[in-house]
Amino acid sequence: MVVSGALMGLVYALIAYGFQLTFATSKSINFGQGELVMLSAFFSLSLLNWGVPYWLMIPGGLLFGVVLGLVVERACVRLTLEQKSEGWILLTIIFGLLGFSAAENIWGRDDRPFPTPIPTEAMQFFGVSITPLEISVAVGVLAVMGVIELFKRKTLLGKAFEAVSADRDAAELMGISARHTIMLSYGLSGLVAAMAGILISPITTVGPTMATALILKAFAVAVVAGLDSGFGVVLVGIFLGALESLTSFYLGSGWREAPGLILLIMALAVRPNGVFGKASIRKV
């Protein structure tokens, strides 16, 4: 039970990682990220309903997430960054609200099951009971994060990404376009959100509110771990997920959301740069 909680925590980590990607290049984050998770999940479900095979649904859903990420960058972020304003905070929140209403109108308010070919019966590993579905979540999260980290370290474009995060002006002097890099980071952040949606939907079902609590906890993980440590979000995510399942077991499931929020308050009070964070970040 603690183990399956920890695996759920990896989904928080994945969404928090999406915050980190855009924060690194542009010092902005998408407050409508939860709606990106939800919209991508709905879109993927529709793909399945239209008869698209399961293996094709995943790239389709991810592509949808990338497109949404790019739309957020173009519509809500780019102009406000050019004017050096914080307008992206409000605009991304508004984008989230629009996405929420759109989902209610297109797909309805009800939660719907998300079919999966992966078995959901629990198996026993060394006395720990765990379902293959939960394992698929962990594998999916780590695979996506691993591929993106490899991209950042091994390709020149990835190094350019890191250069823009380190010093935007100097990167421009090398001929690296900061605007394209920021677009790339929003695209990747959308991809990560879509992946989170596809992974978690078979467990939680799909509905307009599916990501509301999820996003708060991902935000807690990002703040606790710091907005610059990919390794940190994985550890904090696992920790929070495990803590939540312990809380709901011993205190009752009504208290399930409590640890994440308490953790968030404590982190902001004690270590605002995050446990794994280095540089001081601007508070929003």
């Binding site: 390709t155 020149l156 350019a160 890191e162 010093d167 421009e172 002097l173 001929g175």
Partner: protein, 238 residues
Amino acid sequence: MLIVDNIHAGYGTSEVLQGASLEVQAGKVVALIGANGAGKTTTMRAISGMIKPAQGRVLLNGKPVQGYGAARIAKLGLAHAPEGRKVFGPLSVEDNLLLGAYNHLPMFFGFRSKAAHDLEKVYDIFPRLRDRKQQSAGTLSGGEQQMLAIGRALMANPKVILLDEPSMGLAPVIVQEVFNIIRRLKEAGTTLLLVEQFAKSALEVADYAYVMEHGRIALSGTPAELHKNERMLAAYLG
């Protein structure tokens, strides 16, 4: 190679440059000297596109580039090693150098082998960078960071290099070393615009020099001519 024609530029409402003009011919080292706040760095920033000039023209190889973004001007063959060096601290020395050649290298794979020849050339000029190529740039000393900033500019094989205050904050011995390197680059035929507060050292390497005061060019001439100028002697070489 590089012509700056009557540019006006500044930050917000304060105009720092009030009609500065200068020219750098191919293969020459030109020094831009002057007191703190005279507008030397602003001139560099206006040339490389870090700020947009309000008026005037910048011609790179005959092509007007004023108003272009910095990334676009860099692609056209201008490398700017900025004031304060601005190396990418978290990245390794070698990654910093590779990014210097960003415009000429493939985006995904094979960039290391394509850059190998230029990397070797830079490592031959700066052997200390070869010793530290895996180290993150932020852990280098000030002098090493300056060498990295120059090496990174060389990696682009640019038409013109702008070098802003390479001696800033360095110990006198290291400053000498940096000037020796500038001399070597000059012998190799590099076109260079050098901003310096140390007028004496700058005049030793330059073919031609401009003296900047209050956002305008106050004086210009070959080092020999400037050495004869009384005002120059009193203000900068005394």
